[in-house]
Structure formats: C-alpha cells, structure tokens
Symmetry: none
DNA sequence: ACATAAGCGAGACGGTACGTCTCGTCTTCTG
DNA sequence: CAGAAGACGAGACGTACCGTCTCGCTTATGT
C-alpha cells in the first residue's frame, strides 16, 4: 500500500530519484558491457557520480543492485487476453517475452532467471515481474480451447501450455536466434 | 600427443592422483551448493586438504578449475544411435540427460547451465561437455526420418529436434517434475 | 558584544538551551570514556536526542564541539592572588587544578591534555581554558619572592614555578594518588 | 623464547623482513608529518609499496600498527647504574629519556604516552619500552643515598625520585625546551 | 646409491573489491 | 526560523579472494 509505505518514511530528507536512475542506469551499462563480474559497486558509484553509501542505502548487496537494475530495465509486459482465438491469444501474450529475450536485455533476463535459482526471495520477484499470471492464464486458455474442441482429442494441455515459454527460454539460453516466425512455428507444432 | 606429453615430464615426483580427485570433488560440492561465486580457491584447497599451488599447478584459473570439476563429474553420456526408429533413437539419446537432470547432479547441471551465461569461459566448456555432438546428431536423425517419410510432410525438423532438450531444461529450471513419461509425452507432441 | 549578538538573532524560534546542555553533556561523557576518536557526531546526536544539524548549527566541527564541551565542563578556576606569602599564594592557585585532577573530571582533563598533542585545534583551546594566565602569574609570584629575598640566593625561579604543575600532572597521568598533602610536600621540596 | 617462536611458524613462506621495515618506516614518517589522524592504512600500504593484507597480517589494527611503529623507532635505552654517586647515576639513567624527548621522536613518545591511557595493553608496553625498570631503580638509588646520609635528613625520597621524569615529561608535553642543563637544574632543585 | 627434478602443504605477497562507518553538508517536514 | 530526521559525496576501515611467489619437505626416476 502506498499509504503504508509513506508512513514508514515520512520524515527526513527524501531520497533523490535522480540518484536512483543514475545508479540503475550505470549498473545496466556496465553489466551489458562487462558482465556481472565486471560490475563493481565502487565503479558504479564513480560512474553514477554518487557515494557508495547512496548505493548501499538502496541495495544491500552487489547482487541485489544488479538484479534490481535489470528488473528496472527489463520488466516484461503482462497481457491476459481471452478472445476465443487460442492461437491469437497465445501470440499476444508471449510476444512481449519474445521481444525482451531478443532485445538488448536478453542477457539481463537470462541472468535474472539464473540468480533466482539460488536466491529464494528473487524467485518470487521473478515470478511477479517476468512470469506474472502468464503461466496459469496460458493453461486456462489451452484448457478452454480443448473443452471447445478446438484441439484434437486427448491433446496434452499442460505440455501445450508449456511449449512457448520452453522454446523461447531454450533459444535465449542457448543463444539461438529468436526469429520473427519462431512463435508461429512453435504454435504450429504444439497446436497440431 | 600422449608420447610428447609423457616426454615433457618423465622426471621428478609424479602428480598425486588422489589430489586430483579431492580437488575436483570439493569443487563440485561447493559449486553445486553455493554457485560459482561461492567457490573460492582458498576454500577448495582447505576442503581438499591441499595447498593452493597444487590447484594452480593443474588449473590456471578459478574458472578453469570449476569447468574441469563439472566436466569430470557431470559429463552426460553421448550416444549416437541410428537404428532407423526415430522415436527409439531420440529416447536413447535423451535418456542420459533426463537422468542427469533428475539425479543428484541436477543442481550441478542447472547451476552450470545458468552460470555459463555470466561467465563466457564456462560457456564453451558447457557446449563441449554437456551438449557435445548431440544437437547436430538429433537434427540429422530427425532430418533422416523426414526424408524417409516417417514424419508428416512439412514437419519442422529444427523445432522437433529441439523439443526434447527444450522441455527437459524448462522442467529442470522451473523445478517441475521430470517424470518417467515426460519424454514420451514430448515425443507424442513433437512427432505427431 | 551581547547587544550586537542579540540584534543578529531577534527573529524566529530561539535556540533551545536544553539542547546546548544535552549536547555538551553527551560529548563530555563519551569523550571521557572513549577519547577523541571515540566521539562521533552521529553518536552524540543520538545520545543527546538531537539532530545532527542542531549540533553543526552550534559547532562547525567535531573538534570545535569537543573543545567547547570540555571547556564548559572542565574549566579550572583562575585566581591571581598576590598576598606576599608565596607559599600561600601558590597553594591558592594550584588548589583548583589539584581538585580537578582528583575529582570526577580527572579523566576528562588528562584525556584533554593528551589528546591535544595530536589535535592542534585542541592545543590552543587547552592553553586558554586550562592553563590560562596561571603560568606567567606563578612565575611572577616566584620572581617577586626571590626579589624580596624570600628564597635562597640563586634559586631557580623558572623551575620552582613549574614544580607544582609538573608533579600534579605527573601524578594524574601515572594514576598516582593526588593526596591532600602532596602540594605541601612539593612546596617543601621546591621552596627549600 | 626463540625456540618456541620458531616452532609456531616453521612452515610456509617466511615473512619478508623488508616489508616489516618499509611498513614501520612509512608509518613513522606519516605519523610525524600528519599525526595519528593523518595515518591511513591504505596510504601506508601505498607509501611502503605493500598490499594492505601485508600490513593487517602483522598488525590487527591501525592503532596497533602506529604503536608498533613508534615502539620500533622510539624505544628508550635502559641503564641501571649504581656507582654510589647519586647525582651521576640519575644523570646516566635519565639522559636517554631526555634525548628521546628532545629528538625527532618527541612527538611519537608523547603520543604513545597518551594512547596508553585508554588502551590497557599499551600501558604495559609503554612500561616495558619507555619506563622499564627506571622507576623502581631510581627510588632505590635515592633511598640508598638517603640511608648513606647523602641527602639532608627527612628528605622526601619518593618525590625526589619522581622529580626528573616529572619535569622531563612536563616539558615535553608542554613543548617547553629540554635544554642540555635542564637535568642539572632539576637535580640541583631536588637534591638540595 | 644417490643426485636431480618435480610435487606437495603452508602461507606470505601485491592487488582489488566488498560492505560498514563517520564526516560535514544538504534537504525536507513539523512545530 | 529551529529542530528531528535522514539522504548525500567522500573516503578510510578491516575482511576476503585472486593468482603469484617462496619455503622446507617428500617422492620417483636415471645414471
């Protein structure tokens, strides 16, 4: 709740939003150029024109900083359409993820996916900002289509629902090209 | 050349094979639990009851050490069958990966797969020891089957070849169960 | 001038005198127990229940703050008697220092005396508030007595004038007891 | 015992004595020029051409480093003569302290004297390297002389024994000159 | 048989980054 | 305006590793 948050810190000098942006921006730039190991908090501070304490006041850890920087720059939009046209709905839903995994933030996203495996609190955040309600919604779309007879009888609803993300992440993680028609081809394979 | 190598060091005290194992074992254990960043050469040396120089004599770098440790312990067997039965051949080929992703090395493998994204030195080794020649061989099996008319006309050879690893890794990374019939279901989806 | 000062600040909320005392008191306590390095402006603010700005509005610097705190709490009274009885006059003058070095402020004083060696800003203030005009006055008393023939011929005026403070500080610094008759014994030694 | 010490560290690469000297030397130089607050471990490391760890391996703390540096460069020689000539013996004993307090190390010594007041383990070291057996020995010399009738009857043995250090430290601490004849004058005052 | 050459455990070395703490300044809100 | 709160740039603190480098010792070979 914004009210609750405001209550927590209604006194003292407020944090400078310009610092927030300078820090996250510098972190993303260095991360993209040099990778995780190339990020040093000291270097980020210098590049952002900021004191180290100003960073540590926001992020307790280098890992935390990097993850938040990525999240800030790589959040994936989350639609939940249900037009009755399964193929179209799935395309609409997964297009943002495909774009993100293809763009300059691909490395950020896959790194984020990784970090979440060891850091449980990140797993939750990963769910919120990357997966969102997609997984469950996709399953419902597919199940609805199956119920309508839009799919062949005995179709594997769970597997079909998984197909798009599985292939997209597989391509991203293996540096295979995420071409414009990849989603079409996956849907061709999965939906018949 | 083994002869050349042997010539290079035919004198002096030979390296202790027990050290090799102690080092690689300790490295694997720490890596699986703490990830790449959690591995410290000093810690490995202590855990293996070995001097740091004994490690650096074998591996020039922490990255090198970790790569070799994983390769030594998590290499996935690499069959290249071609019986003419596509489904059976694919099952034979992917079974080792499925087992590996299900067994005690699952954490090691997924950590390796993910960690290689931020450490390019790991990436190449991952290709060599985990992927090996599988990718190309699977593609050839599927292409052969398509040529024989075993698949429906216009089947997406590349995508079919990718399906098993894509779903297996997706399950592993999202902690979904890798059940005994998962490969069957994926093959059902992909081959018809 | 108090009139001029009052003119400068006849508007707005007046400074809270309770803050002055709380700040100085907290500073003295911490300084006596932990020394100059142990004093942190942030800590003083917290201990005094005061904001940092409230301190810096009064004292431009940590050194300034500490100096004022000590001066406020440990100033040694400064008599300048000249009754013609050298021994009595010296006793009158040094009694306050002896008391101060024996009382609860002893630690404060010795710490101040020592700390001033590494912090030149403290040195000047120490001269002003602890030594004051005592040194010169004592010398004049002794010189006067010598001129009157109250001392043996050829008496070392400078050394006699120094004797009381030298022994008092030596006892204080070495934690030797500063007994009631110490001044008498020192005067016995010095004046005959 | 040197044997015991040797046992403690008979393995591994031995510490480089050149580092010891470079570190202590740099520390003394900076301390003399800038005072305690001006010493930074990082700066000492740079000036000595040494890594920070090489300093912290030897001295757990900045304070520890500074004190050892001073001790290494400012130890006062400790004679214990007893020729039967009180005045000569006292001169022989206190000359080294006078020299030290007059020389380039005066600031080091007085700062050391101060630091010992808050750091109990330093008090012991101060006793060992600066005071040594002087205090007790001086008292015995004076008591012996009194017993021999070399002093006037009723002489204040304790105070006489204290006189030289008291005046010497007083002069040092107050930046009064420690002239060549100061000891003579103090002895004149104290011994008659 | 014994000298040579290398392996080994231990740990010091010059660096670099970490995350913490304080300094003195600044910015906001409340009384 | 004063005061409480606390953010800000700067930079030192003490810790932990990295990859390199001695030490003194042990262990095979090759003459």
């Amino acid at each position: 709740m914004s009210i609750g948050e405001a209550d927590l810190r209604r006194t003292g000098r407020p944090r400078d939003p310009a610092c927030d942006q300078a820090i996250l921006r510098a972190t993303r730039e260095v991360f993209a150029e040099e990778g995780y190991a190339g990020v040093s908090v000291e270097g980020i501070a210098a590049r952002a024109g900021v004191g180290k304490a100003t960073i540590y006041r926001r992020y307790s850890t280098k890992a935390h900083l990097v993850v938040e920087a990525i999240r800030d720059g790589a959040a994936v939009e989350d639609f939940a359409p249900d037009t009755g046209d399964l193929r179209a709905d799935l395309l609409t839903m997964m297009q943002p993820l495909a774009s993100a995994l293809r763009g300059e933030n691909a490395k950020l996203l896959t790194t984020f996916a990784m970090e979440r495996m060891r850091n449980p609190e990140l797993a939750e955040e990963f769910n919120r900002s990357i997966i969102g309600r997609k997984r469950e919604h996709v399953r419902q779309l597919v199940a609805g289509a199956a119920a309508r007879g839009e799919l062949r009888p005995g179709a594997d609803v769970d597997l079909i629902a998984e197909a798009l993300p599985a292939f997209l992440w597989h391509h991203a993680v293996y540096n295979l090209p995420i071409t414009d028609d990849l989603l079409d081809r996956v849907l061709d394979l999965a939906l018949r």
